[in-house]
């Protein structure tokens, strides 16, 4: 089993490397100026039922959802089948400089109503982010990066009123699960990418900004449905279009 797995991993790796080489060679000319990639991500098929969450173990949490019961957020579908919380990033074609550029803004990952807001947070490697709490109950924030990713997990408590925890991730990792052990239903994701990225809004729309002109492979990642890719060419100062469709499981 193990050997078979390794072997197939090796083949996949070889294919990816080959593809990379081809792509890089293909990228001789780049236009000046930065454009963007916009589009939407849709779900084809019936949206799966998201189970309700029983928060009765912590009355504070339960009280935050008296009007509308909390549900799992693995697959959230908005208007016209738009998929929420899909991360879009450029998986191939970025120059080293563009890939290593780190945005200066600081996304935050809030604990609110004993849920993570956002459920999926995308950040650049080495980009600072904040973990905040809006709750009057203690959480512990516990990201679990994979052992070989080079990212290091930690586990910190955040009682009510605690100051934000500021941190960053060193390496690209898609994706790091985050959990709260005190509230076992709480799980979210930190998606660590290199280069420009976007996360779809409630209706599945996105815009990846600050993309230098060039030809790219854009990958869309959804926590339950996996990934989709699309080839996109961005002209200087222009908005390129890319749409994705995931098939419901």
């Amino acid at each position: 089993m193990k050997h078979g797995y390794k072997k197939s991993f090796g083949i996949v790796l070889a294919v990816v490397v080959a593809a990379l080489v081809v792509t890089v060679v293909d990228q001789r000319v780049k236009a000046a100026g930065e454009g963007s990639i916009t589009g939407s991500v849709k779900l084809n098929g019936t949206a799966p039922h998201m189970k309700g969450i029983d928060m009765s173990k912590d009355p504070y949490c339960a009280q935050q959802h008296t009007s509308s019961p909390a549900t799992l957020e693995n697959v959230v579908v908005g208007a016209n089948g738009g998929l929420h919380n899909v991360v879009l990033y450029i998986s191939e074609g970025l120059s080293a400089t563009a890939a290593s550029a780190v945005p200066s803004d600081e996304p935050s990952f809030d604990q609110k109503g004993c849920m993570y807001t956002p459920h999926v947070m995308a950040v650049d490697a080495n980009q600072k982010f904040k973990v905040t709490t809006s709750d009057q109950t203690t959480h512990n924030i516990h990201p679990l990066p994979a052992a070989t990713s080079g990212n290091i997990g930690w586990n910190k408590s955040q009682p009510p009123g605690a100051p934000p925890i500021e941190n960053s991730w060193k390496n690209q990792e898609i994706a790091i699960p985050v959990k709260c052990n005190i509230h076992p239903w709480m799980h979210g994701w930190h998606v660590v990418v290199k280069g420009p990225y976007a996360v779809t809004d409630d209706n599945g729309n996105f815009t990846i900004k600050n993309v230098p002109a060039g030809s790219y492979t854009v990958t869309a990642w959804q926590e339950d449905l996996g990934t989709q890719t699309a080839k996109v060419t961005v002209a200087g100062g222009q908005a390129a279009k890319a749409d994705f469709t995931f098939k419901a499981k």
Binding site: K2, Y5, K6, F9, K51, I53, D54, K57, D58, P59, L72, N74, T137, T138, N140, I141, H142, L144, A146, A147, T148, S149, G150, I152, G153, W154, N155, K156, S157, Q158, P159, A162, P163, I165, E173, I174, A175, I176, P177, K179, N181, I182, H183, P184, W185, H187, E223, D224
Partner: protein, 293 residues
């Protein structure tokens, strides 16, 4: 019993979701570990003893491998029989994640931390105290287990947390410690009386997803030692790989000592703090975790 079912479902969902990224990662190979063994990082320094990893293989095989496995991945032949939470699974050294540290959460432990763990053992697990070993053997084994994880190749041990000198235990400090216990909500897992029966206690899982029990202050020693300083370190560094987080952002060093004193009052062991609590007729927290009137 029924009330446990929903949590079981969540645990299954979470485990399923979390399994995906783990699979996407390359595995550590024995060849890599062998390369790491011969790097400068694979020594240890404890006091004036220098541990040599390359000489420890036979002792690892003799004492450790049956649980921790040939590759240090915690998959020795006995591991399959340990059923968490009553018998926790053996530590997976390839992760480079350790419970008992003097260093902040997310950092590697010091050599001395690992050395102490070997000698102290892990209560309520199958890890016995290997305190009959010579200092040299323990130091050699510390170096040896460091060759299993790539973390030791790229990182250094974290800076040990600063621990101010232990103050005198007073009634005020015991009461202040109870306030901390209430404020940072230790009771969510450990229970308002320290009986490990807090509302979240039954739902806890460790990083690999195995069920795990919070420490019951009335039964035995904490996992990482029972001295005042060790108690201090447990909640200020967190037990990485378990649900126990670090509270260092939320508890000031002086308050931390208050909490240590209050924790002593929950334990069955005699202590000065416990005497003080008895004199005070200190009431336990209310069932909702608030302070007693």
């Amino acid at each position: 019993m029924n009330s446990r079912l929903p949590q079981m479902t969540y645990a299954a969902v979470i485990a399923g979701v979390f399994a995906f990224p783990a699979l996407a990662q390359a595995q550590i190979t024995e060849y890599q570990q062998d390369q790491w063994l011969h790097t400068a990082a694979i020594t240890s320094h404890v006091g004036n003893v220098t541990g040599d990893g390359s000489g420890a293989e036979e002792r690892y095989r003799r004492y450790c491998q049956v649980c921790h496995g040939k590759m240090g991945d915690g998959n020795g032949e006995s591991a399959q029989w340990f059923e968490p939470p009553l018998y926790p699974k053996p530590r997976d050294f390839t992760l480079g994640v350790f419970k008992c540290r003097s260093t902040p959460t997310g950092t590697l432990p010091t050599d001395e931390d690992l050395y102490n763990t070997i000698g102290r053992g892990m209560d309520r697990s199958n890890m016995p105290p290997w305190n009959t070993f010579s200092e040299q053997t323990r130091a050699d084994l510390v170096a040896w287990i460091k060759h299993y994880s790539p973390r030791w190749q790229t990182e250094k041990a974290g800076p040990p947390i600063e621990i101010p000198a232990e103050p005198e235990v007073t009634a005020e400090r015991v009461k202040a410690g109870q306030e901390v216990y209430s404020r940072v909500q230790c009771w969510k897992c450990h229970g308002v009386t320290g009986n490990a029966n807090g509302p979240s206690a039954s739902t806890l899982t460790d990083d690999p997803g195995h069920p795990i029990l919070p420490y019951n202050f009335h039964e035995g020693r904490p996992k990482c030692g029972n001295s005042d300083t060790e108690l201090y370190k447990i909640f200020m560094t967190g037990l990485d790989g378990t649900p126990m987080p670090s509270f260092s952002d939320n508890i000031k060093p002086d308050e931390a000592w208050d909490l240590v004193f209050f924790l002593r009052t929950l334990q069955s062991y005699p202590s000065k703090a416990k005497e003080i609590a008895e004199q005070l007729h200190l009431k336990p927290l209310n069932p909702d975790g608030s302070l007693p009137k």
